[in-house]
C-alpha cells in the first residue's frame, strides 16, 4: 500500500481514476447507448411526431444560445478589458447566474412579467446560460498578448476593438454551443411554462414523460438523439478550441484594461442593465415572493417573509443536509479524480486526447433525466439494493456528471504551470502524487477548490435525475420542485434563496481569494 503511494509511475493512479469514473459515470450510460447497436430500433425512433418535437427543441435552444451570446459576450468584454468603477464587482458576479436553478429563474420571470410559452423558455435559458459564453470569452480576453492589442492601437482604435472581438469570438461560440446543449436537455423549464400558460411540448419533456408509466427503457432509448447532439457539439467545440489555442500562444505580457474615459457612464448603464436581467431582477422577485401574500392577509411583508424562512429552514433542513451530504461527497471525489484526469489529458498521446475528452464529457452531455433512467436500469437489482438506496449512488452520479467541469478547469490551471517544475521534481525522485499535487498544482490550489466547490454547487442544483432516483428523492432541489408545483409560493421562494446562498458561496469565496491574491502581487 505504502509502496503505491510512493510510486513514481502515474499509471496505477490513472487506472484508478478511469476505474472510478467507469463506475460513477459510464455504467449508467450503457442503457442509453444500447440502441446504437440495434438499427431496427434506431429507424423507429424518428417518426413525424419525434421530428417535430426535436425541431421545436432545436430552435428554442438555438435562440437561447444566441441570447446567451448577446448578453454574455459584451458583458465579458467590457468588464475584463475596460476600467470603470465597479468592473471588478461585475467580474465577480459574472459566473453567478449559471448557479441559479433555471426553474427558479423561470418562476421569477413569470412572476415579474407573466410571460409563458416557448419564447419565455428561450428567455430563461438565455439568461441562465449567458455566463458560459461570458466566462470563456473573458478567459481569452485576459490572455490576449499585449503587443497584439497595442499594435492595433498604433493604427486605429477601431482595429484594436476588432482585435478584442476576434480573439474572443470562438470562445463565445463554444460557450453558446454548451448553452444550446443544456437548454435542449432541460425538461423542467418548458414544463413549468407549459403548466402556467398554454400547453407546448419539447423533446426533453417527452423523455421525462416515460417516467410517468415507469417505462425506463423507453426513456433511456429516447434520450439517444440528445446524446448524439451532445457528441456532435462537443466535437465541434473541440475543433474550435484547438484553433483558439493556436491563437493564444503568447510569449510576452498579457494585455491590460483600458480606461473607459468618456464611455464610463454608458458602459456602466449597460452593465447594470445586464446584471439586472441576469441576476438582480430574478433575485429581487424571489425575495419579494418570500413575503408576498393574498389581499385578505393582515400580516406585514416582513412577518410573512420571516415565517417563510423559518419554515424553509425547519422543513427543508433534513433534505438540505442530505443534499449537502451527497454533493459534498461528490466534491471530495472530484478533488481527487479531477487532478488525475486533467494530468492524464495533459500527458497522454495526442491521438488519445480527443477520445478521452469525449469519454469524460459524456455524462455531462447526456440529459440528466436520461442519466436517471440509466442508473435505475443498471443499479435497481436485488443484490445491489443496499447501494441503490444509499446516498453513495447520487454522490457517484453527481461526481461523474460534473467531473468534466472540474477536469477542464484544472487542465486550464495546470497548463499555466511550466512543465519544468514537475520535471525537476521527477528528476529529484519525487513520487507521482507529490509531483501532481505539490509541484503541478502547488500554485493552483484556488482552482482545485473552485473545481470541487462547483461540483458541490451543481450537485445541490441538480433536479432532473434526482426526481427519478429514489435515493436522491429527498433532496433540496426535489423538495423545491414539488413545493413549486403545489404553489407554496412563500416557502418556495425562501427555500430557493437559502439554496442560492449555498450555491454562490464557493464561487464568491474563490473570486474574493483571487482578488486578494492579485492585490498582493
Amino acid at each position: 500500500m505504502i509502496a503505491v503511494f510512493h510510486g513514481r509511475s502515474p499509471r496505477p493512479w490513472w487506472s484508478l481514476a478511469v476505474g472510478l469514473t467507469l463506475l460513477a459515470a459510464w455504467l449508467p450510460l450503457l442503457p442509453i447507448l444500447e440502441p446504437l447497436l440495434r438499427f431496427d430500433r434506431l429507424a423507429h425512433m424518428l417518426d413525424a411526431r419525434t421530428a417535430a418535437l426535436l425541431w421545436r427543441s432545436t430552435w428554442i435552444s438555438g435562440l437561447a444560445a444566441l441570447l446567451a451570446i448577446v448578453l454574455g459576450w459584451p458583458y465579458a468584454l467590457l468588464c475584463t478589458r475596460f476600467q470603470f468603477p465597479g468592473a471588478g464587482l461585475f467580474r465577480l458576479l459574472m459566473p453567478l447566474p449559471i448557479l441559479l436553478p433555471p426553474l427558479m429563474v423561470a418562476q421569477a420571470w413569470f412572476g415579474l412579467t407573466g410571460m409563458t410559452g416557448p419564447l419565455a423558455t428561450v428567455f430563461t435559458f438565455g439568461v441562465c446560460y449567458a455566463p458560459l459564453p461570458a466566462l470563456l470569452a473573458a478567459r481569452s480576453l485576459h490572455k490576449q498578448a499585449a503587443s497584439s492589442f497595442e499594435s492595433a492601437l498604433l493604427i486605429a482604435p477601431r482595429l484594436a476593438f476588432w482585435s478584442l472581438l476576434r480573439i474572443s469570438f470562438l470562445p463565445a461560440m463554444i460557450g453558446a454551443g454548451f448553452a444550446f446543449l443544456f437548454a435542449a436537455a432541460d425538461f423542467a423549464v418548458p414544463d413549468y411554462f407549459a403548466t402556467v400558460g398554454d400547453l407546448f411540448h419539447v423533446y426533453a419533456a417527452e423523455i421525462f414523460g416515460h417516467s410517468r408509466n415507469f417505462d425506463f427503457t423507453a426513456g433511456a432509448t429516447a434520450s439517444l438523439p440528445l446524446v448524439l447532439l451532445g457528441v456532435v457539439i462537443l466535437l465541434g467545440n473541440a475543433i474550435l478550441l484547438k484553433r483558439q489555442l493556436g491563437y493564444e500562444k503568447n510569449s510576452g505580457r498579457y494585455a491590460t484594461a483600458i480606461s473607459a474615459g468618456r464611455l464610463t457612464l454608458p458602459i456602466l448603464l449597460f452593465m447594470l442593465t445586464i446584471v439586472t436581467v441576469l441576476l438582480l431582477a430574478p433575485l429581487g422577485r424571489v425575495i419579494f415572493e418570500t413575503g408576498n401574500q393574498g389581499p385578505l392577509s393582515e400580516r406585514t411583508w416582513l412577518e410573512v417573509s420571516q415565517q417563510a424562512f423559518r419554515e424553509g429552514i425547519d422543513r427543508g433542513r433534513g433534505d438540505l443536509m442530505r443534499t449537502l451530504g451527497f454533493s459534498g461527497l461528490a466534491g471530495l471525489l472530484c478533488l481527487f479524480l479531477a487532478p488525475l484526469w486533467a494530468h492524464m489529458l495533459l500527458h497522454c498521446k495526442n491521438w488519445l486526447r480527443l477520445p478521452l475528452v469525449v469519454l469524460v464529457s459524456l455524462p455531462l452531455l447526456v440529459p440528466s433525466v436520461a442519466l436517471g433512467f440509466g442508473s435505475i436500469l443498471m443499479f435497481n437489482r436485488p443484490w445491489l439494493d443496499q447501494f441503490y438506496s444509499s446516498s453513495l449512488l447520487p454522490a457517484l452520479l453527481i461526481a461523474g456528471r460534473f467531473l468534466p467541469i472540474a477536469v477542464f478547469l484544472l487542465l486550464d490551471a495546470m497548463s499555466r504551470v511550466p512543465d519544468s517544475r514537475e520535471e525537476n521534481a521527477a528528476l529529484a525522485g519525487c513520487s507521482y502524487l507529490q509531483r501532481l499535487f505539490r509541484y503541478r498544482l502547488g500554485t493552483q490550489h484556488a482552482s482545485l477548490w473552485l473545481a470541487a466547490g462547483l461540483v458541490v454547487a451543481f450537485g445541490v442544483r441538480e433536479l432532473d435525475f434526482a426526481i427519478l432516483l429514489p435515493a436522491a428523492n429527498a433532496s433540496a432541489a426535489v423538495r423545491y420542485y414539488n413545493a413549486l408545483h403545489f404553489s407554496r409560493d412563500n416557502f418556495v421562494a425562501a427555500y430557493g434563496l437559502i439554496l442560492i446562498l449555498l450555491l454562490f458561496l464557493p464561487v464568491m469565496l474563490h473570486g474574493w481569494w483571487q482578488s486578494l491574491r492579485s492585490s498582493d502581487q
Partner: protein, 220 residues
C-alpha cells in the same frame, strides 16, 4: 528649419520608486537612425512605449514633428494619431488573421490607398509571397518577424520603433536578420530607433549609437 521628427525633453519615468528613465532628452531628425543598447530591465522598452503613446511618462515631454504628443502624465496624441509604428519584441501579430489580412487590415484601418496592391507588394518584397493565406501561428519564427516588419512598413510610418527584433534568433538566423534589417531600411525613409543588445546589429543600422544605463541615455 523644420522641427525634429521626434524630440524628447527631460523624460522621466519610475515604477514603484525605481527610476527607469531619468531626464532623458533626444532629438531625431526625419530619416535619422539611432540604436539604443543596454542591459535588460533598464527601460528600453518603456522608452519606446512612451514614444508610441502606449504609456504615459511621469514628467517631461514627447514632441512629434513639432506637436506635443505627451506632456508628463498626459497623453495628448493617442497612439494612432502619432504616425509611429513599432515592431514589438514578441511581434504583436493578429493571430486570427492570415498574413495578407494582417497587412491589409492595418492599411485599411489607417485609410491608406491601394490597400491590396501595396500590401501584397510589401509582403512579396520581404519574401512572404508564398504565405499570404497562412495564419501567423503556422509561420516559422523568421517568417513571423518578416510579417511584423511588413505590416509596419505598409503603414508608411514617419518613425519606426524596433524593440529587439532579432533578440531571440540563433547565430545562423542572425545573419538572415541583418539581411532583413537592410531590406527593411531600403524600403523606408522613416526615422528608425532600434533597441538591441547586439553591437553588430547597431553597427549595421548605421547612425548614432546610444546606451541606456541607470535611466540615463548616453552616446557610445
Amino acid at each position: 528649419m523644420n522641427p525634429p521628427q521626434l524630440a524628447l525633453s527631460a523624460l522621466t519615468k519610475s515604477f514603484r520608486q525605481r527610476v527607469v528613465l531619468d531626464h532623458v532628452s533626444l532629438a531625431v531628425e526625419a530619416g535619422q537612425r539611432f540604436s539604443i543598447q543596454g542591459p535588460s530591465g533598464t527601460g528600453k522598452t518603456t522608452l519606446l512605449r512612451i514614444i508610441a503613446g502606449l504609456e504615459a511618462a511621469d514628467s517631461g515631454s514627447v514632441w512629434l514633428a513639432g506637436k506635443v504628443a505627451t506632456e508628463g502624465a498626459k497623453i495628448k496624441l493617442q497612439p494612432w494619431q502619432r504616425g509611429v509604428q513599432m515592431v514589438f519584441q514578441d511581434l504583436g501579430l493578429w493571430p486570427t488573421r492570415n498574413v495578407l489580412q494582417n497587412v491589409m487590415d492595418a492599411r485599411q484601418a489607417a485609410g491608406l490607398p491601394h490597400v491590396k496592391e501595396v500590401s501584397t507588394q510589401v509582403l512579396v518584397a520581404l519574401g512572404l509571397g508564398d504565405f499570404l493565406k497562412r495564419k501567423p501561428g503556422k509561420l516559422s519564427g523568421g517568417e513571423a518577424r518578416r510579417l511584423a516588419f511588413a505590416r509596419a512598413l505598409a503603414m508608411e510610418p514617419k518613425l519606426l520603433l524596433l524593440d529587439e527584433p532579432f533578440a531571440s534568433l540563433d547565430p545562423d538566423a542572425r545573419h538572415a536578420g541583418f539581411e532583413l534589417l537592410e531590406q527593411v531600411l531600403d524600403q523606408t525613409s522613416a526615422a528608425v530607433i532600434l533597441v538591441t543588445h547586439d553591437p553588430e546589429e547597431a553597427t549595421r543600422l548605421g547612425g548614432s549609437q546610444l546606451r541606456l544605463v541607470d535611466g540615463v541615455l548616453a552616446c557610445i
